[in-house]
C-alpha cells in the first residue's frame, strides 16, 4: 500500500455565526470570526489517497486525473467565494475548517474511483489545519 498526497490552494471568505444563539453568545463563542461582513484565508488542501502500485503504470493513481478531479470538484467550486453565502451546504452549517475538511471529503469521495481516499487536510493558515479521515 502506498499513500500519495496532492496539494491545491484556494482563497475564500467566511464568518462564524449560529442563528440559534443570541448575538452575545455568538460574539462570545466566535470572537472576531463573527464579523458578518466576513474575512478571508488562503486555504491549502492536501488530498491523500492510498492503493497498491499498478504494475503497468507504476502509479497508485494518475496524478493528472486526481488534479483534474480536485480542480473540478473543490477548487473551482470554492475559490474566491464567500462560503456562507455562495456554497449551499454552508447556508445552515458553520464554515469552520472542520466542516470544510468534511465538505471536501464528501465532494471527492462521491467522485473518486481512481484510488481510495485516505485523508483530507485543510490548512486555514500555515499554523492551523484539520484532518478528516471519513470517520463517523
Amino acid at each position: 500500500m502506498v499513500y500519495l498526497t496532492r496539494k491545491a490552494e484556494f482563497s475564500a471568505s467566511h464568518f462564524y455565526h449560529n442563528p440559534e444563539l443570541s448575538a452575545e453568545e455568538n460574539k462570545r463563542l466566535f470572537g472576531k470570526c463573527n464579523n458578518p461582513n466576513g474575512h478571508g484565508h488562503n486555504y491549502t488542501v492536501e488530498i491523500t489517497v492510498k492503493g497498491e502500485v499498478d504494475q503497468r503504470s507504476g502509479f497508485v493513481v494518475d496524478l493528472k486525473e486526481l488534479k483534474d478531479l480536485m480542480n473540478r470538484e473543490v477548487i473551482e467550486v470554492l475559490d474566491h467565494r464567500f462560503l456562507n453565502k455562495e456554497i449551499a451546504e454552508f447556508r445552515d452549517r458553520i464554515p469552520t475548517t472542520e466542516n470544510l475538511a468534511i465538505s471536501v471529503w464528501n465532494r471527492l469521495q462521491e467522485k473518486l474511483n481512481l484510488a481510495q481516499l485516505h485523508r483530507v487536510r485543510v490548512y486555514e493558515t500555515p499554523d492551523l489545519f484539520v484532518d478528516y479521515y471519513g470517520e463517523a
Partner: protein, 140 residues
Amino acid sequence: MKAYLTKRYWFSASHRLHSESMTDRENQAVYGKCNNPHGHGHNYALEVTVAGPVDPKTGMVCNLADLDDFVNSKILERFGHENLNTLQEFQGVVPTTENLCIELYNILERGFRHAQIEKVRMEETMLNSFEYTGGRPVRT
C-alpha cells in the same frame, strides 16, 4: 463526525544534553556539541493535535481560544525563554526533544478538558521533528 485539529505554536528555550548516569567522557561521546556546559538554544515549533466529534452548535472540535489560552498559560509562558535544565520537570531527566515532547503531551493530557489530546509533535530545528501520542501508534 470525528475530525483532528492541529495548531502550531512557537517558543524559544535553551538546554544542555548531559546525563548524570554517564561519565563526562561518555556524555561528550553521546551528545557531542549538545553537551557544551554553557548550553545552547532552539526555536521550537510545537504542534498540538486535538481530536473529537465536530460540535454541530459551533462547527468545531474545540474552541481555539480555549486551546490557545491553555497552551499560552501552561506551556509557552512556562517554557519560553527558559533554560530547560533549570526547570523542575528536567531535574534528573535529560531535556532532549523526545523528553520535552512527552512532558508537553502529559501537561496537555492531564490539564486540557475541552477535547482529547491526540498528538504532540515538536520541531527542534527545521531538520528534525518528534511525535508522541501517549503510546498509541502515530496516525499517518
